[in-house]
């Protein structure tokens, strides 16, 4: 028991402390539960209303997953394109930088007109959010080759395709893992924000509805779930990154 508990406390004491402070603050200051519920009440709301939370979570997770995979593939694909052609690099890089500097929120009305006020737009937003790190890190990673290896492949008369598959892509693996980590941490959050702003479906819409009904426990419950899952995804992708560094670095 002690062996299990100790590493848990070591890794999570910050969050535990935060929850304890929250609980203590609400209890001691005697705030109204509508203004600020206690964390235990929020957890209780989640535990007793799983049939409400789970379907919403499923929708948000699916949108985040599709968006993450789609954005990652798109970013990697365009990264490969800029690797293969300087013309494409000259064209794509400024466009993507411009695109990424536009706040995603402002894109929602435009995207909603294209994909409708529903999961389509939510996925599109998550694609955009995950695309940029994938593009930037794959562009850089495809060029971060072991010293001398590019010359070696040239002397061996390697085709462009061979250089890509046997050299550039494996060399990019650690960078791709970083892109995945950044994307994984933000995908669910991006999906939830999009759902919240459109009030369509998923945890974001649930949050919006709870907020307007002054159901603070429900609103915080949705946030807590997203935060916990985002953190878990982040930690998992950190593992992937460590592996990629050890294997390909």
């Amino acid at each position: 028991m002690d062996r299990l508990l100790r590493p848990f406390i070591r890794d999570w004491w910050g969050i535990l402390l935060l929850l304890l402070a929250w609980q203590a603050w609400v209890v001691l200051s005697g705030l109204n539960a509508i203004v600020m519920p206690r964390p235990l009440d929020v957890v209780a709301d989640i535990a007793t209303n799983l049939p409400v939370y789970l379907p919403a979570l499923g929708i948000s997770l699916a949108a985040a997953a599709f968006g993450l995979v789609g954005g990652f593939m798109l970013g990697l694909g365009l990264g490969i394109l800029t690797w293969a052609s300087t013309i494409a690099a000259g064209m794509l890089t400024p466009v993507t930088v411009l695109f990424s500097s536009v706040p995603v929120v402002t894109l929602i009305p435009i995207l909603a007109r294209l994909f409708g006020y529903g999961p389509g737009t939510v996925v599109a937003i998550t694609v955009i959010i995950s695309f940029f790190p994938a593009f930037v890190f794959s562009s850089a990673g495809l060029r971060a080759l072991p010293p001398g290896s590019a010359d070696l492949f040239r002397v061996l008369g390697a085709s462009r395709w061979r250089v890509l598959t046997s050299l550039a892509l494996p060399a990019a693996m650690p960078n791709l893992a970083v892109a995945l980590r950044i994307g994984a941490a933000h995908a669910l959050l991006a999906a939830m924000v999009a759902e919240y702003l459109m009030g369509s479906s998923g945890l974001g819409a649930m949050f919006a509805a709870a907020k307007s009904e002054l159901n603070t426990e429900r609103a915080l419950g949705a946030s807590l779930i997203v935060a916990a899952i985002s953190l878990t995804l982040y930690l998992l992708s950190l593992r992937v990154e460590h592996w990629a560094r050890a294997r390909y670095g």
Binding site: S149, D151, F153, V155, L156, R162, L167, M173
Partner: protein, 261 residues
């Protein structure tokens, strides 16, 4: 010296100028260098740092092109030889791929060439460079000398027409380096591949080469071209012969920059 037609490597009147910021005419790295290497010959290139040895080797491999002059390998352009995997190269950075095992690193030229991997040949080369038992190890788990042996084995795996070595043992300590020289000599005696070796070590050049070409620096020119008289196979004891020491002393003298002022 024999004519250009029969040579395995023929560099003729090669000049190479590199652009340099603030200097309109650029840096003259090589000035009208002519060098022939006969089939089956082992030539060592000696010269002070920055005299253009690596540039010469890179041009032979088709990684760089001369400003003026011609480079031919077996009568063809380096690009044509590279296209049919005629070169075996080992440069100073070992250029092993960190995600491949020793076996897969040595097999890489087969894969790049789109040829079926000859596992028997790979096993024989691993034995030749004394790395049996390390087939599944990754480069990061090898010592510097072991990595260079993998590098040499990879250079030899496709039975190249021409072997180009640029200070392959430069990063090694003296003891390991001597050991590697013994192994390279043994391997070379078995294959007799046309070889051009760039080195800073006079002893290494004398022990391994049939001929030593000494270059001067800024701009790089051929200063001396001397045959190495020791009979093959050469035992280690050669390095203790008086003749060896005499040649070593005169080469060291020739390499001192003051000698050319």
């Amino acid at each position: 010296m024999s004519g250009p037609s029969g040579a395995a490597i023929a560099l003729h009147d090669v000049t190479r100028r590199f652009p340099l910021k603030g200097v309109p005419e650029g840096v003259l790295a090589l000035d009208r260098v002519t060098l022939d290497v006969q089939p089956g010959e082992f030539v060592a290139l000696l010269g002070p740092s920055g005299c253009g040895k690596s540039t010469l080797l890179r041009m032979t491999a088709g990684l760089d092109t001369p400003s003026t002059g011609t480079v031919r390998v077996g009568g063809e352009t380096p690009a044509a030889v590279a296209a049919r995997q005629g070169f075996g190269v080992a440069f100073q950075d070992h250029a092993l791929l960190p995600w491949l095992t020793v076996r897969d690193n040595i097999a890489l030229p087969f894969r790049v060439a789109g040829k079926p991997v000859n596992q028997g040949r790979i096993a024989a080369l691993i034995a030749l460079v004394k790395l049996t038992g390390f087939e599944e190890a990754f480069p990061r788990n090898l010592s510097g000398g072991m990595r260079q042996r993998v590098n040499i084995a990879r250079a030899l795996v496709l039975q190249p027409e021409v072997l180009l070595l640029d200070e392959p043992f430069g990063a090694l300590d003296a003891v390991t380096r001597r050991h590697m020289n013994l192994e390279l000599q043994r391997i070379w005696t078995e294959t007799r591949t046309t070889t051009l070796l760039v080195t800073h070590a006079v002893e290494e050049a004398l022990f391994l080469a049939d001929r030593i070409v000494v270059m001067t620096g800024r701009p790089g020119r051929v200063a001396q071209d001397l045959p190495v008289p020791f009979a093959r196979p050469r035992p280690v004891e050669v390095m203790r012969e008086e003749r060896f020491h005499e040649m070593q002393d005169s080469l060291v003298l020739a390499l001192e920059p003051e000698a050319h002022d």
